[in-house]
Assembly symmetry: C2
Amino acid sequence: MGSVEKKMPRINERLATSGLRLTPQREHVYDVLLAERDHPTAEQVFLRAKKDMPDISMATVYNCLDALVTSGLVKQVNLDRGATRFCPNMHEHCHFYCESCGGVYDIGLTRARPEVPMPRGFKATHLELSIRGLCPDCAARKK
Amino acid sequence: MGSVEKKMPRINERLATSGLRLTPQREHVYDVLLAERDHPTAEQVFLRAKKDMPDISMATVYNCLDALVTSGLVKQVNLDRGATRFCPNMHEHCHFYCESCGGVYDIGLTRARPEVPMPRGFKATHLELSIRGLCPDCAARKK
DNA sequence: TTGAGATTTAGAATTATTCCAAGTATTGAC
DNA sequence: GTCAATACTTGGAATAATTCTAAATCTCAA
């Protein structure tokens, strides 16, 4: 972390524009997401968050994650039937889902985003790209 | 439907190559998906399937959907925190998710698929594109 | 016809998420 | 600063979605 000076005003302001407050719990949940960018589930966030904030509750973790998502600081990632995952990387990127281990990885998008012709009436706000396959570890193991 | 001649051998063969059998339940669940292409959840499939096959059970619907997915006849669609949806359209297309009503629509892809440079070691099997926004009805209503 | 293996079924169990009510904290008006 | 209004956190209950289990049934091939 260590970027409190830069992170703090941003997160505060982002929450504020959605009518939400910056609380110790929300900041901590955000820090947990920033610390290990492996797209954890709410449950994993809860376990990690408890290390430094033992009294935080599951309900609060869900609340914080929702607050971060609605204020545009975090992305919600749904790639399979399992639990929703969370991603604090708001740069344009896509997700790679390993069909063997279930891991999720960020993949940078260098090229221009794909153009999709919208049928009449549809208003697109944004576009998501995901890729399924084998991550390096699983690919090596299957060889 | 009425395309039994064309549908039957295909579904049978597809299931067979995954070591699965064509059963009345599996065929019926597939027909339900083909009949109304609104990306129903397992629950909705269950309710529709019961109309013509009153004794079918929820567990069987899940089993059938899994069988159809693993044999490549149906796609599983996960766009939000809610229940998984199912799509029998196996042509290249992407999904539009309406953030207001939760509806899911197929959008044809006319252009070439986007190119994404894979980091070393990742083996991509396929690529999924989804678009979020407002469907025509909801867009009109919000005007 | 028989036996092995696949499938269906109802219901229990599990997992993921949301809801609720009570207590606590924060903010703005005064 | 004080007070009321509002937002937030919490534990636990409730709900929703999915998976598991064990027994009955079916199908295929020998």
